[in-house]
């Protein structure tokens, strides 16, 4: 049955080579630390799906933001679950991306020819942090309001352009309805777009040039130009 269906699609779409490149590619013998990237990707998918679901009820206006979040949490079936997954997923995403990056550093996997993978990864980490910062304001409760007051105020200490940066981040002098909508727009449109572009390049390269094997002691010994100082 499954064979028949897949054959039907194969005849019309020719997707088998793509499947082979994605799922049946060769990978070096690696350990569990190499699953951190996949784990980050899984959490990212969770964030995208639960985030989309939250927009079904969430309203980014000072009058409605807090109440709509409370409505999701207390009155909508499984609303606590969807919101909880998005909330905890955000922390998990930062932690997993950080650990994934440490693994890459310790294995020297950022070196040639994987520099582009590395730099898009750094970009993804920055985007993840920006997601966290813009998302934190959205419930529009006391904690969110004051955290964002402090967070945006930090921009002010930038030399010369500090005041200007603060005004751009807040959309004016104070934290207001304008701040809320620009954080929301950034959180659901700007950052996801950047994320998908960077992630696309990152994943393409992972498939295209493969991942590096863990470095070994022999490999280091073979290195011809190691000079040992006497």
């Amino acid at each position: 049955m499954i064979e028949k269906v897949s054959a039907w699609f194969e005849e019309r779409m020719g997707w088998k080579p793509i499947w082979k490149a994605l799922a049946l590619r060769n990978i070096p013998k690696v350990n569990w630390l190499y699953t951190l990237g996949s784990a980050t990707l899984l959490v990212t998918v969770n964030q995208i799906l639960t985030g989309i679901l939250l927009t079904i009820y969430y309203v980014p206006s000072p009058q409605d933001a807090y109440n709509s979040v409370a409505f999701i949490t207390n009155e909508i079936t499984a609303g606590w679950l969807i919101r909880g997954l998005h909330h905890w997923g955000a922390s998990a995403m930062v932690v997993l991306a950080g650990l994934h990056m440490l693994r890459v550093v310790f294995h020297g996997a950022y070196k040639f020819p994987r520099e582009i993978t590395w730099f898009t990864g750094l970009g993804l980490l920055a985007v993840t942090m920006a997601f966290g910062f813009t998302g934190y304001l959205l419930p529009w409760d006391q904690k969110a309001y004051w955290a964002t007051t402090v967070g945006t105020r930090m921009l002010e200490v930038t030399p010369v352009i500090g005041d200007w940066l603060l005004r751009i981040a807040r959309g004016g002098e104070e934290l207001s309805a304008v701040t809320l909508t620009r954080f929301y727009g950034t959180h659901v449109w700007v950052l996801p777009s950047v994320l998908l572009i960077l992630l696309g390049i990152h994943m393409f390269l992972v498939v295209r040039i493969g991942i590096s094997a863990p470095p070994t002691a022999e490999e280091a010994a073979e290195e011809p130009d190691v000079e040992v100082e006497a």
Partner: protein
């Protein structure tokens, strides 16, 4: 079973399991507000004194209630036609056309309710005389206290 088939089947079932685990709450989450059914929303809606209702002539009463939809509480205006034949027994009827929801109005000369949207005609008691509506106008239960009219609930047909 080879190692390869075992692993691909195991992977497929784990993915399917996660899908179901997430899919079911997702559907529940999306359809959740559809479960809310509009009752009156309040115990009783005060309409006004019975002295305002002339015998034999349906009279429109308006009432405002607070209704909570989602996280927003809004004032909603309701209207009822109250009639009496003897000044003691009163009936109340919704003015919402049972076709597609326009407001009907009492036409004195014709002694009938008329809906302008698709030319429906209802009798004095609310039954369909002509036009597209599938059923009679909704009837409401009234109570009278100290000469004041209160709508206390819908009468299910």
């Amino acid at each position: 079973m080879s190692r390869r088939t075992f692993l691909s089947r195991a992977t497929a079932s784990i993915v399917g399991g996660i899908g179901a685990l997430m899919g079911i709450p997702t559907v529940a989450y999306l359809i959740s507000p559809a479960k809310a059914r509009g009752g009156l929303g309040v115990e009783a809606i005060p309409l006004g004194p019975i002295s305002k209702v002339p015998i034999g002539e349906p009279t429109l009463f308006k009432a405002t209630i607070e209704r909570k939809t989602g996280w927003v509480t809004q004032a909603e205006e309701l209207a009822f036609y109250v009639s009496t034949d003897d000044g003691r027994n009163f009936t109340a009827m919704s003015n919402v056309c049972t076709h597609l929801g326009c407001r009907v109005r009492w036409v004195d000369d014709e002694e009938e309710f008329f809906c302008p949207c698709h030319n429906a005609v209802f009798s004095k008691t609310g039954t369909v005389v002509s036009g597209p509506p599938p059923r009679a106008l909704d009837q409401y239960e009234l109570s009278v206290e100290d000469g004041q009219l209160f709508v206390v609930g819908k009468i299910e047909a």
